[in-house]
């Protein structure tokens, strides 16, 4: 295809690529006058109309690769090497040799980019429409035609074009902004779309919906997509080929199926095993020890050797080349001296999913365990709890009509036993954090009651209270989503950890406190503690910060801990480790855990290990609750099925994603929730009766837990009702 002489260097490019659109040869990005490499010897070809998924941990240099493709490495980084772009008409250009004006045209017209934070990618003081028109104008396109094209794009992304175009960025939800940004990057109809973590800030369902849309867009507009992420299972469902980046170098690259099913690099295999997913047996999920290196101290030899169980002298001395290792599998390249041992000694978990789930058996088992737990008084008891927020309103509105009320939590009842474990699962905006904070007494409910061992926590210290407010306060603790912001940046670790001891051991001497802090730090895996004790939070890694937060909560000797998305800010390879630590400490400290997540696979890991329940929330209500096994293998509520669909798995057979079992992508406005069953606007099997009548949360037949859906009742009028517009007409009542 390519006609220029430079293409002779075939050794560096991929054998599996017949019609490359981009060929990257030996690309390096350096800082400090070539001292520090943040991208090292990247050589890869990208096929026309393929989706290439690039996976790496945070700080592995994957964003540098994205910027390099557009020759847009942030200053003062220096990009060297060769990046050849083959146009549709057969001509070839070297991106790094383009003049400023040529580069200006090349970007966005040929290769375009989508960034992670949509909110920060739009000018906050400009309407979305202006972003489109100025882009069109500056590239000498017709504005009216361009806007029409953009309308089409927005419609294909399930957005209302006029509403979106006439909004300011802050008026759209995160998912809408991200889709609008995708439309903006495609408005000049580029050939290549480089996406750098385009969905990382969104919840799982929105991520998967967007990926589904990307798949459609790719075929509709003949796009080549480079999708960069830290989330291996997520991109696995979309990509044709995948590449793994470790420590600023490509570790492995090959067709998706080879990477997932038959990867050759120990890092890839360990990464696959470290990823919580809903199919693999739990026991075999293993964290990777250690953390990726910083650019200033990259290990010599193979960069992965300090964390690799197979490392030998050779690995320490010699940097393996990224090359074809198997002459029968020429599409697949890996940089490892011991790829054969890796394949033998690190078995992959995924795909092993067996039919180990037996519904009736499971039902018996879990009912038994539930039974044993329900004996006695619950630790926390929520009865018909409402949390309604009134929107800020002005003088005149106060006289006219009802105020806008956000029903964050609506009529929820839930009991939590001693040493119980409950996961709240749902999309952003479903009220799960509000419910969690209500449970531990941080948010005052507007209706209903929250009781701690029979004492209403908001009337504690009243005349007839049995348990004091202080006692309840210290018994219910929280672990926040982002450990970085949960620690006061101005206090040292020792000060932060002394604070809980002031409450639990007010008379302890300084040295006694220190010894307690030391031993707990050791217990949460921060050894030796004296190395950490005098540091400020910013001197710790994300994983270490989260351990400190955990230690702080435990020093209060709590009876229940709310973990609000507590691992989503931690690197993928460390998540299992932190979750294991929490579970171990739960039994050690005899606490209950409330775990909030948007990710079914994380919730499953917790619920199954801790023998707990998962409660699925939608628009302020619990729509289904039950054991993780039952929820995953026998979801009763259509919304649970949606979440199940949205959870990426690594099973190659199941990977060819089917259409989402959902009619609308965006969650309705919680100010004005839909009538009847709140899910009816998005439910694929909604019928007329769902619009009018609201289903109750009731015990389900042959299984543990409860669900709120008419489909649980074989003789409900639902089955005679007409499907609503757009819903499928499938299914007859069970039995």
């Amino acid at each position: 295809m390519s006609t220029d002489s430079a293409a002779g260097n075939r050794a560096a490019s991929d054998e599996g690529v017949d019609d490359p659109i981009l060929e990257i040869d030996d690309a390096n990005v350096t800082y400090n006058d070539g001292e520090t490499y943040v991208l090292n010897d990247a050589s890869v070809s990208i096929d026309r109309r393929e989706i290439l998924g690039i996976v790496g941990e945070s700080g592995s240099g994957k964003s540098m690769f994205a910027s390099a493709l557009l020759d847009a490495v942030p200053d003062p980084g220096v990009l060297s090497g060769q990046i050849r772009y083959h146009r549709n008409d057969g001509s070839t250009v070297d991106v790094l040799e383009l003049s400023d004006e040529e580069l200006r045209q090349f970007r966005w017209e040929e290769v375009s980019m989508v960034f992670q934070g949509a909110m920060s990618s739009f000018n906050p003081t400009m309407k979305i429409r202006t972003h489109f028109t100025e882009t069109l104008k500056t590239h000498d396109r017709s504005v009216s035609e361009g806007i029409d094209f953009a309308r089409g794009l927005l419609e294909n992304l399930y957005l209302e074009p006029d509403r979106v175009l006439d909004s300011y960025p802050h008026e759209l939800s995160g998912g809408m902004q991200q889709r609008a940004l995708i439309a903006l990057s495609m408005v000049l109809n580029p050939e290549v779309l480089v996406m750098d973590e385009p969905t990382a800030a969104l919840d799982l369902l929105m991520q998967r919906s967007i990926l589904q849309l990307l798949d459609d867009l790719q075929s509709m507009y003949d796009l080549t997509i480079v999708f960069i992420t830290h989330d291996l299972p997520l991109v696995a469902s979309l990509a044709d080929r995948m590449a793994i980046i470790y420590a600023f170098q490509f570790a492995e690259i090959g067709p998706r199926d080879s990477i997932i099913g038959d990867s050759a690099h120990p890092y890839t295999r360990k990464l696959l095993n470290a990823t919580p997913n809903i199919d693999a047996p739990l026991v075999e999920m293993q964290p990777i020890d250690g953390e990726g290196p910083a650019p200033v101290n990259v290990p010599s030899g193979c960069r992965f050797h300090p964390r690799c169980s197979l490392a030998t002298e050779k690995c320490r001395a010699e940097d393996p080349q990224l090359d074809v290792f198997d002459e029968f599998d020429t599409d697949h390249r890996a940089a490892c001296h011991h790829w054969q041992e890796a394949r033998e000694e690190i078995p992959l978990n995924a795909g092993k999913a067996s039919d180990w789930y037996d519904a009736s058996d499971m039902a018996d088992r879990t009912t038994n365990t539930q039974q044993s737990k329900t004996d006695g008084q619950p630790l926390l008891s929520l009865t018909n709890v409402d949390v309604h927020f009134t929107k800020e309103q002005g003088l005149l509105e106060r006289f006219s009509g009802d105020p806008d009320t956000v029903r964050a939590v609506d009529d929820v009842s839930l009991d939590i036993q001693e040493q119980d474990l409950v996961c709240l699962l749902g999309e952003s905006g479903c009220g799960k954090t509000t419910l969690g904070k209500t449970m531990i007494g941080l948010q005052r409910p507007t209706g209903g009651s929250v009781e701690y061992r029979g004492q209403d926590i908001w009337t504690a210290d009243g005349s007839d209270s049995t348990i004091s407010h202080d006692e309840i306060r210290s018994a219910l603790q929280i672990i926040h989503q982002d450990p970085g912001s949960a620690l006061n940046p101005n206090r040292r670790i020792v000060d932060i950890l002394s604070e809980p001891l002031r409450h639990t051991h007010p008379n302890a001497s300084t040295n006694e406190c220190r010894s307690r802090i030391y031993s707990l730090l050791e217990r949460v895996g921060m050894t030796p503690p004296e190395d950490f004790i005098d540091r400020y939070p910013h001197q710790l890694s994300g994983g270490e910060q989260q351990r400190v937060v955990l230690a702080r909560a435990l020093l209060m000797n709590p009876n229940a801990i709310l973990a609000d998305e507590a691992i989503s800010a931690v690197d993928v390879s460390l998540r299992i480790e932190i979750m294991d630590l929490m579970l171990e400490l739960q039994s050690e400290f005899d606490t209950s855990f409330l775990f909030i997540s948007h990710d079914l696979s994380n919730a499953r890991y917790f619920a199954e290990h801790g023998d707990g329940r998962i409660a699925v929330m939608y628009l302020g209500e619990i729509v289904e609750i039950g054991s993780a096994e039952r929820l995953i293998h026998d979801p009763r509520h259509p919304y649970t099925e949606v979440l199940r669909w949205a959870t990426p798995n690594l099973d190659l057979d199941a990977m060819e994603a089917d259409d989402p079992p959902i009619r609308e992508i965006d969650v309705p406005d919680p100010v004005d929730p839909p009538s009847g069953c709140r899910f009816h606007t998005r439910c694929p099997v909604a019928r007329e009766v769902c619009r009018k009548e609201q289903p109750e949360l009731q015990e389900i037949n042959d299984g543990d837990g409860k669900a709120a859906c008419f489909r649980e009742h074989p003789d409900h009028e639902y089955w005679d009702s007409e499907p609503v517009e757009g819903a499928q007409r499938r299914n007859e009542p069970p039995n």
Partner: protein
């Protein structure tokens, strides 16, 4: 909409509060409000039996009435725009203020706009060339300008340009020989007289404006949307104005509200130095002459001017920054 209504309704409320305050302040004055006035009137030869009537004419207050009655009378006077009569000038206070107010507004508005424009330009260029010699020199210069009070510029300017070189007049708002009217001669005379105070007042504020703009711009330049705009191929000019400048200036707008108060207050010193017949000039004259009605009138009107100015700025802020919905006044 209701926010605008509420905001506008607050003006008379604040004016009422300020009027009350100034009524209270008169009572704080040495020897009470009338002792000194009485002495003064007697010295001027007013017959003792007419003094009370004179005081009433001057201040709109019957000195022998009970306090609440005096207070009511005073408020009624304020509402009727009757601020009493100046003792030293012998004319109604309102008349003097009506003549003085435009000059003060002219000084404050022109110098503030100039200061803002020049400061923003310098700060923006500094941010674009961050770390350059230009940046270093102007940063040092800005810090130095911040350290010099505006009236020092006024004094030094007056010394060199007014007295030594005689380029500018050293007093008054307009030459005595020029008739007021829409004539070129009148305008040049006004400009000629206002030039020095405006220049002094402008230079005094440029330093902090430029430093502010510089740090805001550097922040905005690091934002992702600027990077995205560059990748989209937008021209440097558009990025500089629509992206960087706009987002860097917006946070300064709320600071401007506070600044207006300081600047309006600052005219007192400025006008006195240049003998520029604005509100501040008369306020100082009134203070020196123990002319309480004029003093209180000037104080009240300066405050009302500020209240109205802040209100206007506040109301327009919502129009400029789409993120601030009406009612969100946390911007200060």
């Amino acid at each position: 909409m209701n926010y605008y209504l509420r905001r506008t309704l607050r003006i008379p409320l604040t004016v009422f509060a300020v009027a009350t305050l100034s009524f209270g302040l008169i009572r704080l004055l040495p020897g009470g409000p009338f002792t000194q006035l009485r002495v003064q009137l007697l010295r001027q030869g007013v017959p003792a039996e007419q003094v009370d009537a004179r005081i009433q004419a001057l201040q709109n207050i019957r000195p022998d009435a009970p306090l609440w009655q005096q207070y009511l009378d005073y408020l009624v006077g304020v509402v009727q725009l009757d601020l009493g009569e100046s003792i030293s000038y012998g004319t109604p206070v309102l008349e003097i203020i009506a003549r003085a107010l435009p000059w003060t507004v002219l000084l404050v508005v022109v110098s503030t706009v100039l200061m803002f424009v020049i400061g923003v330009l310098i700060g923006a260029v500094q941010a674009y060339w961050e770390g350059s010699i230009f940046d270093t020199v102007f940063s040092g210069g800005s810090i130095f300008l911040m350290a010099v009070p505006y009236y020092i510029f006024a004094v030094v300017g007056l010394f060199f340009l007014g007295y030594q070189l005689r380029l500018f007049p050293t007093g008054n708002a307009v030459a005595r020989t020029v008739e007021a009217g829409f004539t070129l001669q009148y305008f040049t005379s006004v400009l000629h007289h206002a030039a020095l105070p405006i220049i002094a007042f402008t230079i005094g504020g440029i330093g902090s404006t430029a430093l502010n703009m510089r740090s805001n711009s550097i922040q905005v330049l690091g934002r992702e949307y600027v990077e995205v705009a560059r990748l989209r191929g937008l021209s440097d000019g558009r990025i500089a104005t629509r992206y960087v400048a706009q987002n860097a200036i917006l946070p300064m707008y709320t600071g401007l509200l506070l600044l207006l108060g300081f600047r309006l207050g600052g005219t007192v010193v400025l006008e006195e130095i240049f003998s520029y017949p604005g509100l501040g000039y008369y306020l100082i004259n009134a203070v020196n002459a123990n002319d309480y009605p004029l003093m209180m009138g000037c104080f009240l009107v300066i405050t009302v001017t500020l209240v109205v100015a802040v209100c206007i700025a506040d109301l327009t802020y919502g129009l400029i920054d789409p993120r601030i919905s009406a009612g969100d006044t946390d911007g200060y």
